[in-house]
């Protein structure tokens, strides 16, 4: 091995390690800070997080879980049917609808949420978790429809045709033959829908009014905005950890589909 390649290897490892420490340290610090108490380490901060006046309550967590479940289920349903339609069928208006779906990417959140707020009021879904979920599903559609269309297109046609020869109707072909074949796509879409809906802040901030309907993110942020003067930073970090742990666990288990998902979605979307 030449001297210069040895030097470059060393500089690579030193730079890499230093950067990895920089990127990981805030995460590790928040875990540490959430456990540190005046006298040592313990769960006091978490206790305050769930009991103090400004803290989070069980119903906030239930709200978050409800919104996430509705969003994941709704996204999977709409994107599976839509992806199947776009990937396997030709019908009038198909290309226009696909283009419109992708156009959602061009019109970001912040610019139409005011109108969505008014619209949800008209249809009686103001300040409701269902209304919020519908909006989150809509914002998930460009990525998830694109992902599912590609998944369905990749399934060999013979598989579908042989099922129909065997007497399956369209719906049972979709359920019994196609769905197992597109499972990796479904996992990616579901994972994305969960991560987005679980940690979303701006849409709930605008669409939810009453503290009873708040999601956990809103409730934790509220610990900062509602407190005049002193902020309970330690309990705040406990809240951060509480919100982040499910996402980090999911990320650890499903890193592969997470990475594949947002590169394929982002590159072509």
């Amino acid at each position: 091995m030449t001297r210069s390649s040895l030097t470059s290897r060393w500089s690579y490892y030193i730079t890499g390690t230093a950067l990895a420490i920089l990127f990981l340290s805030p995460l590790l610090w928040s875990g540490w800070a959430s456990l540190r108490t005046g006298t040592g380490f313990g769960l006091e901060n978490y206790d305050r997080l769930f009991t103090s006046d400004n803290g989070i309550r069980v119903h906030h967590v239930v709200n978050s879980l409800t919104v996430s479940a509705l969003t994941v289920a709704g996204t999977l349903l709409v994107a599976t049917l839509g992806g199947y339609a776009f990937g396997r069928f030709r019908f009038p208006g198909r290309d226009l609808l696909f283009l419109l779906t992708l156009a959602i990417l061009m019109v970001p959140y912040a610019t139409i949420l005011i109108a969505l707020y008014v619209l949800l009021g008209w249809i009686g879904l103001q300040d409701s978790l269902i209304g919020l979920s519908l909006v989150l599903i809509m914002f998930q559609l460009p990525f998830s429809i694109f992902m599912m269309r590609n998944s369905f297109e990749a399934v060999p046609r013979e598989l579908e045709e042989s099922a129909q020869v065997d007497g399956c109707n369209s719906v049972s072909t979709l359920l019994r033959i196609m769905l197992p074949a597109v499972k990796p796509g479904l996992v990616t879409v579901g994972l994305f829908a969960f991560l987005t809906s679980w940690s979303e802040f701006f849409a709930p901030l605008i669409l939810l009014n009453s503290t009873d309907q708040f999601t956990t993110t809103l409730a934790v942020v509220n610990m900062r905005t509602a407190s005049h003067g002193s902020i309970d930073y330690a309990a705040l970090e406990a809240g951060v950890v509480f919100m982040a742990v499910p996402c980090l666990l999911l990320f650890a288990f499903m890193q592969r589909s997470y990475v594949r998902g947002f590169t394929s979605g982002a590159l072509k979307g």
């Binding site: 995460l27 069928f89 019109v107 005011i114 619209l119 429809i145 902020i231 980090l248």
Partner: protein
């Protein structure tokens, strides 16, 4: 779905019996028609969602921008007032300048860091998987949570940063990073965004880098190109679509900045870190003037659409 019937054939015919010796063309056409109907049926939920929650609000926001639209009570038409008042609104003016400044600084810095990281983890070496995961992990934390994390990290009460810098002698006394001065507030937000989003952009640039065939590099090496020449003449031109995509996403994201300022700096000190989206929120839910908020939204939307069209143009020229 009523437009499915082709004009020539008039009413739908009953499906031909399979044993009858019919011309195969007609059979195929009617089968295709029912298949098209089926496809349209599967696409209906998507169409409803896109129509109701995307197209309607898009038109509505334009319609609202032409009205005096209070949060409660009936709206009244006030045609160009909401737009002309944008020009008189001093907070809008300062927010525009701040948002543009933030966008330029953030895009340059984030691109440099993300590209640097992508080049660092480009080759398969021992430990590269660990590095990629380390850079990506902040992405798993929600942006609002990440902002709160940094609020604590930068605070003087429990955060280690001030203590560390005091020990190193960089600062002395008490420094409030998030609300002390407009520069430090902006800097805090930028460090937060770098931490949270560098890995994501690294990943997209990395897929672009890996799509370049190895033969191209070999050819460059045989031609005697230096490392820098290869980077400038081979890597950068072949990466153009990916770079265009990443830059557009960074610019769009920065123009829409909200969470980091709302949570970390609260727009202060003295409104010096108030972004445009914060102004939209303020107009709508603090000043209770939805029409004015809609007008600013429409203006912002127009700028973003222009950016996206330019990006599509750049991407299409390549392919």
């Amino acid at each position: 779905m009523s437009t499915l019937t082709p004009p020539r054939s008039g009413k739908a015919r009953p499906l031909p019996a399979p044993e009858a010796p019919r011309p195969p063309r007609r059979f195929r056409r009617s089968a295709a028609r029912s298949r098209a109907a089926l496809g349209a049926l599967y696409a209906t939920p998507t169409a409803v969602m896109v129509g109701l929650f995307f197209l309607v609000p898009l038109v509505l926001v334009g319609w609202m921008s032409l009205h005096k639209w209070p949060l409660l009570g009936a709206p009244t038409m006030n045609m160009p007032d909401n737009y002309t008042r944008i020009a008189d609104n001093e907070l809008v003016e300062s927010a525009v300048w701040f948002t543009v400044k933030y966008t330029v600084l953030m895009t340059v810095l984030l691109f440099a860091v993300a590209f640097g990281l992508a080049l660092l983890v480009q080759q398969r070496r021992r430990g590269v998987g660990f590095l990629r995961t380390a850079f990506l992990l902040p992405m798993a934390v929600g942006f609002a949570s990440a902002s709160l994390l940094f609020l604590g990290l930068l605070s003087d009460e429990i955060g280690p940063i001030s203590d560390l810098l005091r020990k190193l002698g960089v600062i002395d006394g008490y420094v409030s990073w998030t609300s002390g001065s407009s520069e430090s507030a902006l800097g805090s937000a930028m460090v937060l965004v770098l931490w949270r989003f560098a890995g994501f952009n690294m990943l997209i640039l990395l897929t672009g880098l890996q799509a370049i065939p190895l033969e191209v590099y070999e050819a460059a090496r045989i031609d005697g190109a230096s490392r820098w020449q290869t980077f400038r003449r081979v890597t950068i031109p072949l990466m153009r679509p990916t770079i265009a995509l990443v830059l557009t996403m960074m610019i769009t994201g920065s123009l829409l900045a909200f969470d980091q300022f709302w949570i970390l700096t609260r727009g202060g000190p003295d409104n010096s870190t108030t972004s445009l989206v914060m102004v939209i929120y303020r107009e709508a839910f603090i000043r209770l003037d939805l029409g004015s908020a809609a007008a600013i939204s429409v203006a912002l939307l127009a700028v973003l659409v222009v950016f996206n069209v330019i990006q599509l143009g750049v991407l299409r020229r390549r392919s």
